[in-house]
Amino acid sequence: MLFTTPQFIFLFLPICLIFVGLAIRFTGMKGGFIALSLSSIVFYAQWHLPDVLVILSSIAVNFTVAYLLSSPKTKHRFPILFFGVAVNILALIYYKYTNFILTNFGYSAINIILPLGISFFTFQQIAFIVDIYRGDVGKIVFSNYAVTVLFFPHLIAGPLIHYKAIMDQFERNFSVKLTNIVYGFSIFTVGLAKKLAIADPIAIIINPIFQKSQVAPLEFFSAWAASLGYTAQLYFDFSGYSDMAIGIGLMFGIVLPMNFNSPYRSTSIIEFWRRWHITLSLFLRDYLYIPLGGNRVPQVRWYTNLLIVMAIGGFWHGAGWNFIIWGGLHGIYLVTNHIWRRNIPNKFRENYILHPIYWAITFFSVIFAWDFFRAPTIHSAINIIKYMFCIRNASLPGEIGLFTHIKNGHPFGILYTGTGITFPNLCSILVYLIFGYAIILMCPNSEKLTGVRSKIIGAAPPHTFGLRDVAQAMLVGALLWIAAFGVFGAAPSEFLYFQF
């Protein structure tokens, strides 16, 4: 059940809110936790029923490990932690990487169904037992722990949350109130519109180009359309999902952490990773980069740590060499960025006149790396990148030549023979890219747009109903209208990050 389907919006979500609201009212907080956990299990079971056993087993094992680690009587804590982490990683390897390993060693793949969201809930639970081991988390109660893992808004694709931070909120703010529902729905709407009104239409145009890139040389403009299109699609898809998750979380009084902060406006790769998939970046920093020594080691080892962390981050996204290359590329970018920072004087780095150049270098580096992330094969990614630089291969639809009366070969040798993208698709992708990148580069992000965090739970609303409220209500209406084309007018498409 996708967040974007009528079944979720008009059936599951309202029923769940009523059910949990009634449970809190008549049985207290604990009853609410149980009701929310049950609802989340129903939500998860809609995808593939047997996966419920996987997640419940994972919760049971991790809770047992955490219980042992938190017990003052336990003597050999490190082996227990090692066992807990190993079980999580082995489960992830079995479900996600077995076929990658088998096929790379020449064996045939076996039939394994990847449980949805396993990468997310496994990472989150590793963080949990490590936090227990470090003593960052005190007393734990099973129903509390279960609800933080199962909480359906973040269950499938994050944001990754820390038990302590989220549990504090559950204990203080967990409630179902009309005010929270309205504020939550406003941010949910932003995500819905991002996904359905921008990401999905772009995908319709660029997916055939990525398919073609597997078997045939691409044409210059098609290659750029695919790369720029996917860069925008992934942002609107994943940040849209995160907005919806944050919005639904708010409906239950829970503020999930921000996952995106206008990442494509970054002027360095270091900044990009502080703004893109923030909760994953923080996880990798806290539970992998720092334990490896972080930057408090000799320079060569520091850079090696960065490369290792980014390659693992890439591999976490998917069992394929293209994901490792994507991660590795970002590792190289980060190392280069750090070398630059160490060797270039501040006056150059902080010179605002040079910022557009820094932005362009960062943005196009990210785009090239996304080609490996998206393309079905490495060959296909190289094909796309190669033809992005091959203007000799440029061909616009014949209609452009017809309308403009420009002769073939003018300018830059561009032909008007239509060997690449069709005229309707060219018009569509141009409109969507201009619109999409205007939002990406110029508009306030979801948090600023809706001002949700400033209205958080418990804060008294202003007494007067001002122009700002009218504008926000109109914005929500407009976004709902545009999102409705995706909800009612087309078959739902999965979120890109569900595959990870």
Binding site: L178, T179, V182, A197, P201, I204, I205, E399, L402, F403, F423, P424, N425, L426, C427, S428, V431, Y432, P461, F465, D469, V470, Q472, A473, M474, V476, G477, A478, L480, W481, I482, A484, F485, G486, V487, F488, G489, A490
Partner: protein, 318 residues
């Protein structure tokens, strides 16, 4: 606080309605897509042709398979009863084709439903229908369920609009897809075999058989059942015939025989007549045009003769 929330919700709803009104206005003001323009032209000419006739008429109702596959003029000549080819665009879907047919049919008419078989199994509104309704027939929204209303209102997306606008910039030079070639009986007068391309022929020869769907022989699709009830109430006789289909040996197998028989049963149990066996209407490749359900003028003539013969039998008996 409740008033505040009520105000927010009200403003949001008003915005949605205003945006929808603006969207419909924009669609209606801009150039229609080629297919919307063709579809509207077909309706205009075929309805005008139908209104020219006094007395009982035979209506051939279906999509483009009927438009290309039958000649109302030939059937008129062979049966002696004025016949209108009311084949339009299958993309409109069965519910809309029947809805529009009901507006033209009158007591004493004979409706031959030659609905393309797949249309019986998918009755959700299409993008083609959504554009057509938003451009030309908003009243249809009052005739369907709320679910279908939402699909129609939001079925023609901004992406469809941009792509349709871009296509409409290209001058339409093809001979087909033009309402001007519709004749006095609503027939397609263009001799399409002359414009068949090698690609059309290759596609035809490589096409697989039409699939089958599970059929409950006693339960017609709701729009069809509604039409049967309406026709009975308004003294309109009805029957079933088949779209000329590219012949395949598969269609002679028991699986297809049973499939077609079950569909025929929908009509039989509701008082309709079956106008011959499906196999009689199938045509060899040389009688077909660009698609397995589009006959050329030779296929059109052959299928019309078969239908006229069966119609004559039924009309004589009655």
């Amino acid at each position: 606080m409740k008033n505040r929330i009520a105000a927010i919700v009200s403003i949001a709803l008003i915005t949605i309605m205003a945006m929808m009104a603006g969207w419909i206005g924009l669609i209606r003001l801009t150039t229609p897509s080629i297919q919307a323009n063709w579809t509207r032209g077909l309706y205009d000419r075929k309805i005008a042709a139908a209104h020219q006739i006094d007395g009982p008429r035979i209506f051939l109702i279906g999509g483009s398979g009927t438009h290309y596959g039958y000649s109302g003029a030939d059937i008129t000549r062979l049966t002696g009863l004025q016949t209108i080819n009311f084949g339009i665009h299958a993309g409109l879907g069965m519910p809309y084709l029947l809805y529009r047919a009901k507006k033209v049919l009158r007591s004493g008419d004979f409706a031959v439903l030659i609905i393309e078989v797949p249309l019986n199994f998918s009755t959700t509104p299409t993008t083609v229908l959504s554009e057509f309704v938003l451009r030309y027939d908003l009243r249809y929204l009052l005739d369907v369920s709320l679910k279908d209303d939402l699909s129609l209102l939001f079925g023609y997306t901004p992406l469809d609009f941009i792509a349709g606008w871009a296509r409409s910039r290209i001058p339409w030079t093809a001979e087909i897809g033009r309402p001007e070639t519709v004749g006095t009986n609503g027939d397609e007068t263009l001799e399409v075999s002359h414009i068949q391309t090698p690609a059309d022929r290759s596609n035809l020869l490589n096409a697989g058989p039409m699939p089958t769907w599970p059929v409950d022989p006693n339960q017609p699709p709701p729009p069809l059942q509604d039409f049967f009830s309406w026709a009975t109430k308004h003294n309109v006789r009805f029957g079933i015939a088949w779209t000329p289909l590219l012949e395949k040996s598969d269609y002679k197998t028991l699986k297809y025989e049973n499939f077609y028989h079950d569909i025929e049963n929908w009509y039989k149990i509701n008082g309709g007549v079956v106008l011959g066996n499906h196999d009689e209407y199938n045509q060899p490749p040389e009688n077909m045009f660009d698609f397995i359900m589009h006959a050329n003028e030779k296929g059109r003539k052959a299928a019309s003769q078969v239908l006229a013969r069966h119609l004559s039998e039924v009309l004589t008996v009655q």
